[in-house]
Structures are given as C-alpha cells and as structure tokens.
Amino acid sequence: MAVNNPLHGAPESVPLHLRGGAGQVVRFPVARVQGRAPEIRDRRPSVVAQLRRSPLTVVAVSVLLTLGLLGLAADWLSASVFGVGPTEQNLRAAYARPDLANPALWLGADELGRSQIVRLLYAARISLAVGLGAAAVNLTVGVLLGLAAGYYRGPVDDALQWLASTFRSVPSLFLLLLVAVLFQPGPWVLVCVLGLISWPGTALFVRGQTLSLREREFVNAARATGASDWRLMRRHLLPNLLPLVVTLAAIDVGAMILTESSLSFLGLGIMPPTASWGNMLTNAVGALGRAPWLVWGPGTLIFVTVLSLYLLGDAVRDAIDPRLGAPRRP
C-alpha cells in the first residue's frame, strides 16, 4: 500500500487549515500546477475526466442539473403539463391524496388545495436561487478580499485579518437569527445576509492559497516579464484557485440551502405564499395529522440536493488532491 506521488515538480507546501464557523476543520491541499513547461506533461487525468469516472459523482451532477432545469422550466411545466400555478387554491381539494390520474395531484395537495408537485418545482427554483445567490455573495467577497490580501500582503493583509477575525467572533448564526426575526427580510436581503455570514472563512482560505501560490515559479516568471498585478491575479492565480473555489462553492450552496430551510422551518426566511422547500416542510409538518405524505416531497428534495452538492464538492476535491482519492498505480 505504497503512497503514490506520481508527480515530479515542486515540493508540496505546507497544507493550510480552514476553520469553518462551527469549529469544523476542513483540509485542503495546495493546488497542483499543470502544464508549467511544455515538455513536462502532467500524467494525471484532468479533473473533469476523473469526475466522469465515478458513478456517484455522475449521478450527483445529473440530479443537480435535472433539478435546475426543472426549476427553470417551472413556468412552462405548470402551464402545459399540470395546468395550475403554484398559488392557485382549490379549497375543495384541500389535503387531497396523491392521484395518478390528475397530473396536478401527482403528489397530492396542501391545506389550500394547491398542487404539491407544482409548488415543489417553483420551490426548487427559489431554494436553489437562494443557495446559489448566497454562495455567490460569499465567494465573491471572500475570493476578492482573500486574493487581495494574499497577493499584496502587508497592510492590506493585516486589515483583512482583523476584519475577518472580528466577523468571526460574532456568533454568526445567532446574528442571522436576530436579523431574520427582527427585520423579516425579503429574499434578496436574506441572500445577502446569508452570504455575508461565512465570507471570513472563504477569504482566509483563499488568502492562504494565494500566499503560497504567489511564490511559485510561474508567478515570478510572469512578474519578471512585467505583467501587472491585475494581470497576474487574473491570468495566473485565479485559474489555479478555481478548482478549489468550485469545491467551496458546491459545499457552500449546500450549506446555504440547509440554512435557508432551517430558517423557514422556524417561520423566518422565505414567507408563504412563495414556496420554498423549507416553508413547504413546515407546512407539511403542521398538516401531519391529516396529510402525512406531504412531508416527503420537500424533505427528500432538500436532502438529495444537498447530498449531491456535497458529493460533487468532495469529488472535485479528491480529483485535485491525489492523497485523498483512491490509490492509483504509479
């Protein structure tokens, strides 16, 4: 069971630790640089090729794509296939059981006779959008600030460190709760607030990676040719950070979806009649005595989506770091 180290090249740098908000410690190794000089070819297959090899990852990606497409097509689907909208009530059909004959009732109806399946589709859109939006905010802020701090170092770095550590000293979920309860924010504000909760972790991690990357030969070489800071960051550092950022993103979106659904469960977050998986689940729990089947739809979808996202993130990370994946023959 020899440990593989098929690559020759620069020695590995010290792995840096990322500390998440809940004391979670996630470990990421340094990215491998590919194609440094034309003669030395990287024998390891590309990330995408590796991902394609694992059936689990393929399934995860397909699930996500399907859900995404369904969510985007929700309007068209509700008009042509199901015939009802997500907020159309039909009090006579309250708590209707799932009925295969009527497409709108494939998954039954809730307490107002609204089609569960149509609402799930629209909820997919909202939940995914909120998750993606929040992750986007988080990553944008985190990557930009982390990159700047890692690249420029000095006072910029010190400022970021101080800012990040202050933010992290705030019990973030607690503040999120407070803000949600006190201000009852709409979906856009919610997205921003969610995104701003975890940026320090992202920023510090990106900073760490940038710090090590900037010492690489290819960076020095580029600088020697007179490339501007911006060009360096954009063309050399960012692409190497990308795979790790993708991993972070996948996990982030998953975490945001979970947070949003927890908030909705507590009666905060996305408010009805707008459907989100979280508030549909709360609704279903309230109706357990009358319509127990309502619980399965939103709960399973949240679970499956987040699971797929986490699996994807894991798979990307394993593809980048050879030590974590399955052992390969040298």
Binding site: E88, L91, R92, E111, V181, G267, M271, P272, A287
Partner: protein, 578 residues
C-alpha cells in the same frame, strides 16, 4: 493483504454506544405516574396529577403585572377573584365575595366577603387585600391594567403620590365599598374578576407616602408564596414546566388533585404528539390536529365557541385608498369573500360566521337585526360598478385613474390568518379587486396598525396600512368603547378610523347606563349599525378545541372563560377516576 481485525478503539466505541442505547431504550417513555387513587364509582377521590400543555410559557405570576394569557392561566390557580362567571352564560357567581351589589347610578360597588377564607398560610383574607391590590396596580410603573382601577375615587391621586391611600375604597369588617368617579358598567366584572393579591406579602414593597416604591421587582411576582386558589406555587423551570401543589387551606371545596403542572411545548405539532402519547393530560389544539387526536381512545374532546373573532380591517383613514371610506365598497367586499368556505376548509368546520362586534355567546347579542352578506361575487361586482368603477384591461376595477387595489397584512406564524389572507387574495381577484398579500411578525404588524402614521391622515389618527387581518379576543363584558368610539381613533384601539354618531352614543350608553335593558338596547343599536356599515369584514369566530384525558372527571368547559380561568375554572373539582 493480511486480514485486519477491527481495532480495539472501534470495538470499545461500539460497545459503549450499544450500552447507551440499551440503557436509554430500557427506560421507556413514562407517563405521569401518580399514586393510584382508591376505587369507588362516582365519588370524587383524592389524589392524582394534572399536566396541562401549552405552547407559550407564563411570563409573570402576578395579576398586576401580567398581560398575556399563559400567565393568567397559571396565576389564576393561585389568586382567586371576588367573583367568577358561569362558563356557559357569563353570569357572575360568588367567589371571594359571596354577594355583591351595584348601585343604580353605577357609581358604587359593594362586595360582601365570604367569611372564613384564608390565604394558604392561614392569614385571613380581608377587604384590606382588595385595597392592597388596587393600590399595587395604581403605584406600579410596569402594569398595563391601570384602566381597571383608575376611575375609583382617589385612585389617580394615590398613584401620583398625592395621597397615602385610595380614598374611594372603604373596608368595614367584611364589606368592601368601592366608589367610582363616574358610572362605569364594566367595573363590576373588571374589578370583580381581577386576581386579589395579599397585603401581608406585597405590602412590604409599598409605602403610603412614597410613590416610587412598588411591587414591580418583587420576587414573589415569579414565585408566589401564598394564595387563595386551589393550588400553590412550587417550582418554575423556565420554558419547561411550572409545578403547583395542592392548597390544603382552599376555602371553596377540594381540590382533589395533588398536583397541577403547566408544561410548555414549542409548537402545536409536538403538543398534539404529547397529548397522543399521554405525556400531557389536557391542551387546546388547532383544527388541523383534531382528526388525528380524535382517534385516541383515552382523550375526551370538547369544542365550544369562545368570545372573540378574526376580521379584516379596512383602514378608512388611508391616503390613496379613500375607496374604503365608501360603505358600499365595503359591503361589496363582504359579498366577495366566501367566509363559509374558509370555515369549512381551513377551520375544518370549527368556527362560526360573525356579523358584528359582540360575540354570539354574549348576553348582549341579538341576531335578528344583523345584516348578513352571503357570498355573491356577481352582486359584489354589481355594487362596485354602481359606484362608478369600470374593469380595466387586467380585470381590476378602475375609476378616475385609480385602481381598486390595496395591500393586506397579517401576522406570520398564525396559520389561520395566513390562510385567510391567501384565500382573500384569490377571491378578491375574482371580483376585480387586486390584493397584495404581506405577512409580518406580530410585533411589526402591531406597530404598523397601532402606532405608525399614515402620510395623509396621520394627524387624524390614520395608521400605516391599507387592510389587515387581525383578531380580537373578548371578555365577559360587552363594552366596546376602546375599539369603536371615535375618541379612540388617535390613541386607542379604533385602528380603522371609524366614526359614527349612532355607534358613539351606543357605546357610551352601554358603559354608563348599567341597567340590563338599557345596555341591551344600546348594544343592539351598536351591532346593527356595525353590521350595516362593515367597517371591518367581520369574519368568523374560531372554536376552542380542547382535549382532556378521559380519566379526569368534572371537566366542564364553556365559552366564558375569564382569561385566567379558561377550561380550568373548576379545576378544584376535577378528580381522577381510577
């Protein structure tokens, strides 16, 4: 590769986990165990424990400072009041006072106290305790109950420190006489139903001369040491349970039960689950839980109408929505909402339509003169068009460049109201009225509807909302001054800015002419006018749905809970059938 056995660490962990689960699993969910009482057919037997479930914890165990229902439910077991009311009719019955009298001019109340009543520590209950209660309220800075006592002669002066006692309350042996500055018909029920606190416990926090001293910080507010009620306080674990034990010196017969526990649950689902498993013995539930709980053999089900109703308020002092000032539009809106459908499908039948303010269970209610607005979308459209509105391109009515569109609010977390909001949005759209639904936290909504100012009518008392779904819970007395009198628009609860002379006079008469016939006539006129004018869409009243473990005998709930009694009004007579 040589076969590896699972490491010792892993083994240890597995064994530990199994052990833990085993121990935990072997301690089955226990129901409240209480010593089994002796058998005998219909003779009450002593012993047993009652566990009552609720979804909110009590806040303070003192009638002077409490302002919420859970607190009242708990301190109601500890502090008795001068009178009680019959749960079915609302008629006063004796308690601490065995007899009372209201002078014809409505300005003097006399209570004859029942002899032999003592506090749980043996100190006799006297008229001085009544006086102490009134004094505590008037000097308290944190109470919201001053209006109950402030009309007593000398009360205000005492509160401000200008007097060292309340002049208008005189105590002579067991007779307490209360003089009011002006006739106030609700006084008898308000003062009569107020929990009486002991002078010998709270007196030490007060000082006749010094108005800055009060009972607001007393620790007995959260841990009552003595009481006149059937149970005395034992322990309070915040957000978990309050434990009360039998008061041996209870003067009104009983209690048979040894212990009474108030248990808090975070929401109605866990509450219903706890009822099912028998972890709690009694609780009020929501309509959606009824069907599931009816399947449990061990639970008895009670459903009765409670005074109070859910309504849609039309803000008649709203800039830009002056169409709400037109009674015909309001009537059309009444025709446009299928309230019965909401009762049937959302309340699952557990409710009743309401047409005016006074609740159907009140003695002042008279159905005959009330106007009904049956669900009739065609008629609604007709009425709107008769006012000069024409349907626009999107189907919504328009007139002089204005659309018949408005925002409707309700508070989040109340399922019934949220659902009504969504139903109303849909149904109004079908009669050409565009409603934008919004839910807000109760606190924010409260502020919006009660405090914030409308841009145009703010000075006159207009608030910052178009329409809102809210609710009133009502007491025994039909007095409606605070909600409907025009003087209450600026600073009171008249949140829709409604002003009508007939109504004004009726509510004034109702609270100052205390003869029964006078009040009946006044409230008849009052309700008739309201149902004609539709300042609210008077929606529906929701039934109180109660489940109690069948083993408890003596349960007899009715619509007239005073706030502090509810279905526990006679808990001293409950006993456990073995």
């Amino acid at each position: 590769m040589p076969h590896r056995r699972t490491g010792p660490l892993v083994r240890m962990v597995v064994i530990l986990m199994a052990g833990l689960l085993l121990i935990a699993g072997c301690a089955p969910a226990r129901n409240a165990t209480s010593p089994a009482p002796e058998a005998s057919d219909n003779e009450p037997v002593a012993g047993g424990r009652l566990v009552v479930g609720a979804i909110a914890d009590a806040k303070v165990l003192n009638p002077v400072l409490s302002s919420d229902v859970p607190s009242a439910e708990v301190w109601g077991r500890v502090y008795e009041s001068l009178i009680k009311v019959d749960p079915q009719t609302g008629a006063p019955t004796p308690r601490l006072a065995e007899r009372y009298e209201v002078a014809p001019d409505g300005q003097r109340l006399t209570f004859w106290l029942r002899p032999g009543v003592t506090w749980s520590d043996g100190t006799p209950f006297t008229g001085d305790d009544v006086k102490a209660t009134a004094e505590a309220v008037m000097r308290s800075k944190k109470t919201v109950r001053k209006s109950i006592f402030q009309d007593i002669v000398g009360a205000r002066a005492y509160g401000e420190g200008k007097a060292s006692t309340i002049e208008g309350i005189s105590v002579q042996d067991n007779v307490v006489t209360i003089r009011l500055e002006k006739a106030f018909c609700p006084a008898i029920t308000e003062i009569g139903l107020f929990g009486m606190i002991p002078r010998h416990v709270f007196g030490k926090y007060m000082d006749g001369q010094d108005a800055s001293k009060n009972i607001d910080e007393a620790e007995e507010n959260n841990a009552p040491t003595v009481g006149t009620g059937p149970f005395i306080f034992s322990e309070w674990r915040p957000n978990d349970r309050i434990i009360m034990k039998k008061n041996e010196r209870f003067a009104f017969g009983g209690p048979y039960l040894d212990e009474w526990v108030y248990k808090v649950h975070p929401d109605t689902t866990t509450l219903a689950a706890a009822l099912k498993t028998g972890e709690i013995d009694a609780a009020r539930v929501e309509p959606k839980d009824v069907e599931g709980l009816q399947q449990s053999d061990h639970l008895a089900y009670f459903s009765y109408l409670a005074p109070g109703y859910t309504y849609i308020a039309w803000n008649q002092l709203r800039g830009g929505k002056e169409f709400f000032q037109n009674a015909n539009i309001r009537r059309a809106l009444a025709h446009g909402l299928d309230t019965q459908a909401v009762i049937d499908s959302v309340l699952l039948g557990q409710g009743q339509k309401v047409y005016a303010h006074t609740p159907p269970v009140s003695w002042a209610y008279e159905r005959s003169a009330l106007v009904e607005y049956p669900y009739d979308p065609a008629r609604a459209r007709q009425m709107i068009e008769a006012e000069g509105w024409k349907p626009g391109a999107d189907g919504i009515y328009e007139k002089d460049g204005q659309r018949l569109a408005f925002t409707m609010y309700t508070n989040s977390g109340n399922k019934i109201r949220e659902t009504l909001l969504q139903v109303a949005t849909e149904q109004y759209r079908q009669i050409g009225v565009e409603v934008t639904p919004r839910t807000e936290a109760f606190e924010a909504l409260n502020e919006r509807v009660g405090k914030s100012k409308d841009a145009v009518y703010g000075e006159r008392g207009g608030h910052d909302y178009d329409a809102a779904i809210l609710g009133w819970s009502q007491g025994v007395d039909p007095d409606a001054y605070g909600v409907w009198h025009s003087s209450q628009i600026r600073s009171g609860q008249n949140q829709v800015g409604y002003q009508n002379e007939v109504v004004d006079r009726a509510v004034e008469t109702g609270r100052t002419s205390c003869a029964r016939e006078d009040r009946l006539a006044a409230y008849k006129a009052f309700n008739t006018q309201l149902s004609q004018d539709q300042p609210y869409n008077f929606g529906f009243a929701v039934n109180t749905l109660l489940f109690v473990n069948k083993k408890f005998q003596g349960v007899a709930p009715g619509p007239f809970p005073n706030v502090q009694n509810g279905y526990l009004w006679n808990v001293e007579q409950w006993w456990v059938k073995p």
